[in-house]
């Protein structure tokens, strides 16, 4: 906006032109004042337009939030629990196969060993060496096979870790759903999922740490060193 002096000067010019009965000067002075008024109105319009745009944005955002609260959040919770359920099922299937394989391997190995040992007793010195070598190889291969099956079994333990992480995210979604519900954008999430945001026990723990988390041990060796320091 122009200064007080500038506005006063424009008014004085208009008064002087009227007093001097100078119509051209009067029109020019009046035009200058009108231009100033138009600039004021323009500024106001621009401000109102900006406010209107912000208000419309908010209406849109609130509408989107309400839609998320009603439809997407309950689904998100169901999907997260579905992931836990499906990975659990996959892990159990693998475990069942490993559990069935271990005695099969044992049975096969002891049958072959038994056969070879019988053969060994009746074998000539020449055959004996080959049979002994085979017997030894069967033994070490069987141990290696059992170790691999044990690895397969232990790898299923990652389902527990991913499950713990996903459960934390599901809890976050449930909490968000609760907050939106209190804000009047209630979604039927809790009713549909049958799970409310789990009120964490104060000593419930945090689940698997994020990579590079602060004050976190790097592995079992770190744990052992720390426990040794503490006399455990």
């Amino acid at each position: 906006m122009d200064s007080h002096e500038e506005r006063l000067e424009r008014a004085r010019r208009l008064v002087r032109a009227i007093e001097a009965r100078d119509e051209r000067a009067e029109r020019e002075a009046a035009d200058a004042i009108a231009r100033q008024q138009a600039a004021f109105v323009h500024d106001d319009l621009r401000r109102i337009a900006a406010e209107l745009r912000d208000a419309l944005c908010n209406v849109y955002v609130i509408g989107e939030l309400a839609r998320l609260a009603r439809r997407e959040l309950p689904d998100a919770q169901l999907r997260l629990h579905q992931v836990i359920g499906l990975t659990e099922e996959a892990a159990h299937r693998t475990l069942a196969a490993v559990e069935a394989s271990l005695p099969l391997a044992d049975g096969m190995v002891s049958a072959v060993k038994g056969f070879l040992e019988t053969q060994l007793r009746a074998a000539s010195d020449e055959e004996r060496r080959g049979l002994s070598e085979l017997l030894e190889r069967i033994g070490s291969d069987a141990a290696a096979l059992k170790a691999r099956l044990s690895e397969v079994m232990l790898a299923q333990s990652f389902q527990d870790l991913t499950g713990q992480i996903i459960r934390r995210v599901a809890d976050l979604v449930a909490e968000l759903d609760g907050i939106l519900g209190r804000a009047g954008m209630a979604g039927p999430a809790s009713a549909r999922c049958g799970t409310e945001a789990r009120r964490a026990h104060p000593s419930a723990g945090d689940g698997p740490p994020l990579p590079g988390g602060a004050d976190v041990v790097a592995g079992q060796q770190d744990v052992d060193a720390l426990l040794a320091e503490l006399g455990v």
Binding site: M153, A204, G205, D206, G207, L226, V232
Partner: protein
């Protein structure tokens, strides 16, 4: 190393896959006498009814967490000397210190190996045999 293979082990974890894996590992190590619970609250009555020789527990469980279960065991006159092995994803140094102060006998961070489980169980019973916790 002479750990009594007939001893009864209670495995506490909210994930059924993890309970099944630990039970399988124990069976491979020769321990076939196992029972299960899915959190501290369901484990405690089993412990109190007697006969458990080793408690293997997770930390992070809905309901009663493992650290609370450990505290409850140490407070109980009949259970206070029970060997307790924590098998958990909780990896903060302060948590391990907290468990040590609460009287844990061993602490394994997930993911772990069969060798680690065997070594920790043996170490616990070596110490029990030597008369120290």
């Amino acid at each position: 190393m002479s750990v009594n293979k007939a001893m009864k082990v209670l495995v506490v974890d909210d994930f059924s896959t993890m309970r099944r894996i630990i039970k399988n590992l124990l069976r491979e190590l020769g321990f076939t006498n196992t029972v299960e619970a899915d959190d501290g609250a369901s484990a405690l009555p089993i412990l109190k009814s007697g006969g458990i020789d080793l408690l293997i527990t997770d930390w992070n469980m809905p309901g009663m967490p493992g650290i609370e279960l450990l505290n409850a065991v140490r407070r109980d006159e009949k259970l206070k000397d029970l060997p307790v092995l924590m098998v958990t994803a909780e990896a903060k140094r302060e948590q391990i210190v907290q468990a040590a102060q609460a009287g844990i006998n061993g602490y394994i961070v997930k993911p772990f190996t069969a060798q680690t489980l065997q070594a920790k169980i043996e170490k616990i019973f070596e110490r029990v045999a030597a008369g120290q916790r």
